[in-house]
């Protein structure tokens, strides 16, 4: 097997080439630092086995950042047979800087000269044969984004390169340093496939990893470098860098002709508008508006079409479950419905997420993301974040709504450790799309007139809160974390590829779906148990049964002289009739056209020839039965719901909610609200489902909004207090799991749970109490909360942090 690693400078197209070779879909985007971990794939080609590893991009070989460490460990790995150096042809000189260091390693190298299309556009004429001759390596020109690529050619070159052994590796003349290099070379006893000279050079650069490897201690090197400094007044790092750049320059000038020196690139032209001092923010605002309009507004319209599909799915699952025996719903059925509801509530967002993530992918491909970091870095830095926090916050929902799971996953690339953790802790405050149904439920019930204004408050206050939290954490618990400088390449604009965008959007949506299918459903099981047990007391059960019997005897009285009486004179028959009636009604709601209704009718009739005519009556007598059935069905529904409520009231979660009441009452939450919030921990959607079902009184003509509003327990300030808590509410379980993954610590996970919860409780208690005291309306309360958050953010931005940004050495 040939072991191959793909190395190269950031954004040169390594992952693109990796995907071409392996057929795997590794994340590709137009900004440096996309790949953070290595990814590998194996493939077979002409009877040979290849293992290919995609590495993070590195400009050079220092070991300061995580990506460089990952890349370096692989290149040093003895097992690596061939290094494939992916080079950005439009940027050859700088890319050669790394190429030289790879050549010095002494391993077989194949160069892939990628982005030839860009080089052509820039009117660069590259003499590839000459370059190949000068460096003594095979070179293949590619355009990675073009279909087909040059898979065969590349693999052939790799397989050929794997068979040669390098007698004398490439050599750069380091002039005054040569004597020291050979001195160290003699000190190295370490046996390796890597060139000794290379190890010596790195040792002279005081590279920790290498020093450990070759067993030379730091002081020896220090003595050497200071003696060089004394003798020649030369700094090792700077001189090495200069020598390498000079060599690159020589090669560059021999092999490349710039046909048009003063080419004003398209990128430069576009940047003059997009990054213009006055236009940058309006352009950003416009892009945000566009995303909002396309994904949220249109996406919701799209869900009108996808929802019936999900509802059909649900109905289908329900038909598989054991039917209820009058008001006694089997546990199995309850459970099934609960699980299906939990899943489809989340799946309902798939169209919105798809549009949203596709648009974000376009922004990533075009190259706007690093420019957004450029525009916003100043603001972010004031609060301890980093220009690179932009993408995670956007995915999390900073614009318009999103999901914290992909958001937190995207924090990996942030070089600044403090900002990375702060970003992980703030992404969950963004506008989780799943909170929207909860907001609309409460807004619809209590703030019909001010819905727009309230929604504006809710969705923008999150940014202030995130900034405040970031500032608080970075100046306290994260104070001592390492920071990193903000130096980032702004890549040239690219046209996004259709397949790339589609792929990336589907990958992120798939991540979301996986979350639904695994974590959320697992938690839904737990919640179900907590809500079902210990169950209804025997007395209550008897009471419900009695009520059911009364309803049954009423039904019986109405139909006993009917000609169809024989069809429904037994309880089991009545029970079947009710179930048939309910299931027909549910499916009828989804059947839009006349022909759909007709075929539905036919199907039902075929299945229950005896009872269906009573559900869909054709004659007078049947109509009578149908009418009585409707009444009985209603009574039955009411009892089912009462049973369910009784169960929740008695349940473990209910008890827990009641136990919290003494505290939460100050925020205006009674135990039922507590239960809703507790269950929202699984997935935010559950809050609505739970609240809705607690308030469902069986009056089916009332919407949940109406029944909440008419219930009379809550006033608008109660609702505002709930909204406030929901804004701050701790992230859902799925988010917690990714927080754990990304911080690699349970402590941060616990912090991410308890800090927002505490903040939410304190703030909702505070504002609820103030609202009571000063007679605020719900809107007043929300506005005052908004203004306080905005003011605090502003004040914090004025206070200088002691360690703002990157600590730098003094200049001479």
């Amino acid at each position: 097997m040939i072991k191959v690693v793909l190395a190269g400078q950031p954004n040169s197209g390594k992952s693109t080439i990796f995907n071409v070779l392996s057929g795997v879909n590794q994340h590709v985007a137009n900004y440096p630092g996309v790949t953070v971990d290595k990814k590998s794939a194996t493939l077979k080609f002409q009877g040979e086995q290849f293992e290919i590893v995609d590495l993070p991009g590195t400009y050079s070989f220092s070991t300061y950042s995580l990506e460089e460490m990952v890349a370096k460990n692989f290149l040093l790995d003895e097992g690596t047979d061939v290094i494939v150096n992916v080079v950005d042809a439009s940027n050859l000189r700088r890319n050669l800087y790394l190429t030289f260091q790879l050549l010095e390693l002494g391993k077989p190298i194949v160069m892939i000269l990628n982005m030839m299309d860009v080089a052509e556009r820039r009117e660069l004429e590259i003499d590839v044969d000459r370059l190949s001759e000068m460096l003594n390596i095979p070179i293949i020109e590619t355009v990675g984004t073009k279909r087909g690529g040059k898979k065969k050619e590349i693999l052939n070159a790799i397989s050929r390169a794997g068979k040669i052994t390098i007698a004398e590796p490439f050599k750069i003349d380091y002039m005054e340093f040569e004597s020291f290099i050979s001195k160290i070379e003699k000190m190295i006893t370490y046996d390796s496939t890597i060139s000794k000279r290379w190890l010596a050079i790195k040792a002279l650069e005081a590279d920790k990893v290498i020093l450990d490897k070759v067993n030379i201690d730091k002081d020896t090197i220090k003595d050497m470098t200071s003696s060089i400094h004394a003798k020649h007044d030369l700094d090792v790092d700077q001189t090495f860098a200069r020598v390498r750049y000079d060599s690159a320059d020589v090669v560059y000038h021999k092999c490349v002709k710039e046909k048009n020196k003063n080419l004003d690139t398209l990128t430069a032209k576009a940047d003059r508008i997009i990054l213009n001092k006055w236009l940058a923010f309006p352009v950003l605002g416009f892009i945000i508006y566009l995303i909002y309009q396309l994904s949220i507004v249109w996406g919701y319209k799209l869900t009108n079409y996808t929802w019936p599909l999900l509802a059909t799915l649900k109905n289908w699952v329900v038909t598989l479950l054991p039917p209820p025996d009058l008001h006694n719903v089997p546990m199995m059925t309850d459970f099934g419905i609960w699980m299906v509801n939990s899943a489809i509530a989340l799946l309902n967002y798939v169209p919105i997420f798809f549009i949203l993530f596709a648009l974000i992918a376009i922004l990533e491909d075009v190259g706007y993301m690093p420019r957004m970091a450029f525009i916003l870095d100043r603001i972010f830095r004031k609060f301890g974040l980093h220009g690179q926090s932009t993408l995670p916050l956007v995915l999390g929902g900073a614009f318009v709504g999103g999901c914290a799971v992909p958001g937190i996953m995207a924090t990996k690339g942030i070089a600044d450790d403090r900002a990375r953790l702060a970003t992980i802790l703030t992404v969950p405050y963004m506008n989780c799309l799943a909170k929207v149904p909860f907001y609309t439920l409460l807004l619809g019930a209590f703030f019909k007139e001010d819905m727009g204004l309230m929604m504006f408050f809710i969705s923008t206050v999150t940014l202030f809160i995130a900034l405040i939290v970031a500032r608080l954490t970075t100046s306290t618990v994260l104070q001592n974390r390492e920071t990193a400088p903000f130096i980032m390449e702004l890549p040239p604009y690219h046209l996004p590829t259709f397949s790339g965008v589609l792929l990336r959007a589907s990958q992120r949506v798939w991540l979301y779906i996986k979350k639904v299918m695994t974590i959320v459903l697992a938690v839904a099981v737990v919640l179900f148990v907590l809500l079902q047990f210990p169950g209804v007391s025997t007395e209550k059960k008897a009471e419900f049964s009695q009520q059911m019997n009364k309803a049954l005897s009423q039904f019986d009285k109405k139909v006993q002289n009917n000609k169809y009486y024989t069809h429904v004179d037994e309880v089991s028959e009545v029970s079947a009739l009710i179930n048939l009636y309910d299931s027909y009604k549910a499916q009828r709601m989804l059947a839009g056209s006349k022909s759909a209704v007709a075929s539905l009718d036919a199907a039902f009739l075929a299945k229950s020839p005896k009872l269906f005519p009573l559900v869909r009556p054709q004659d007078k007598e049947a109509k009578k039965v149908s009418k009585a059935t409707r009444k009985l069905s209603k009574a039955n529904k009411k009892l089912q719901i009462e049973t369910k409520n009784e169960k929740i009231t008695n349940s473990f979660l209910g008890m827990f909610g009641r136990a919290l009441e003494p505290l939460t009452q100050y925020a205006g939450f009674d135990w039922r609200v507590n239960v809703a919030f507790l269950s929202s921990f699984a997935a935010r959607e559950s809050a609505v489902a739970t609240l809705g079902s607690i308030y469902e009184k069986g009056k089916s003509n009332l919407s949940p909004e109406e029944s909440l509003a008419q219930d009379g327990t809550y006033t608008p300030i109660h609702a505002a207090s709930m909204l406030l808590f929901m804004i701050l509410t701790p992230p859902c379980i799925a988010t917690m799991v990714v927080v754990k993954l990304q911080t690699n610590s349970y402590r941060w996970m616990l912090f991410a749970i308890f800090f927002p919860t505490a903040l939410g409780v304190v703030l909702s208690v505070l504002f609820f109490t103030l609202a009571l005291k000063f007679n605020w309306s719900g809107v007043d309360m929300m506005r005052n909360f908004y203004l306080s958050a905005a003011t605090l953010t502003f004040v914090l931005s004025l206070i200088k942090t002691k360690q703002s940004g990157w600590q730098v050495g003094k200049s001479q």
């Binding site: 700088r94 830095r381 903000f486």
Partner: protein
């Protein structure tokens, strides 16, 4: 930091579209490595392209690439106006 001559310029002092040549890099450790590997070496030509809308960071052109860097770091690079 001593202001020896009037001509002592730092990268952050360049005006829009002004060109300069790097003289010396006063950064240490990680920052130094990063700057060097991105081509900020003595003798390299750089162009100040623009400030961010909020003045910080700045965008510069170096070796045909566009690079953004914060002012606090740009203040470590001594340049000579070209």
């Amino acid at each position: 930091m001593t202001q020896t001559t009037e001509a002592t310029l730092y990268l952050c002092d360049l005006k829009q579209n002004q060109k300069g040549i790097i003289q010396h890099c006063a950064a240490q450790g990680m920052l130094k490595q990063k700057l060097l590997s991105m081509g900020f070496i003595p003798g390299a030509e750089i162009t100040m392209l623009r400030n961010a809308p909020l003045r910080d960071p700045i965008e510069i052109g170096i070796h045909n690439c566009l690079v953004t860097i914060r002012r606090s770091e740009a203040a470590l690079l001594k340049v000579e106006a070209a």
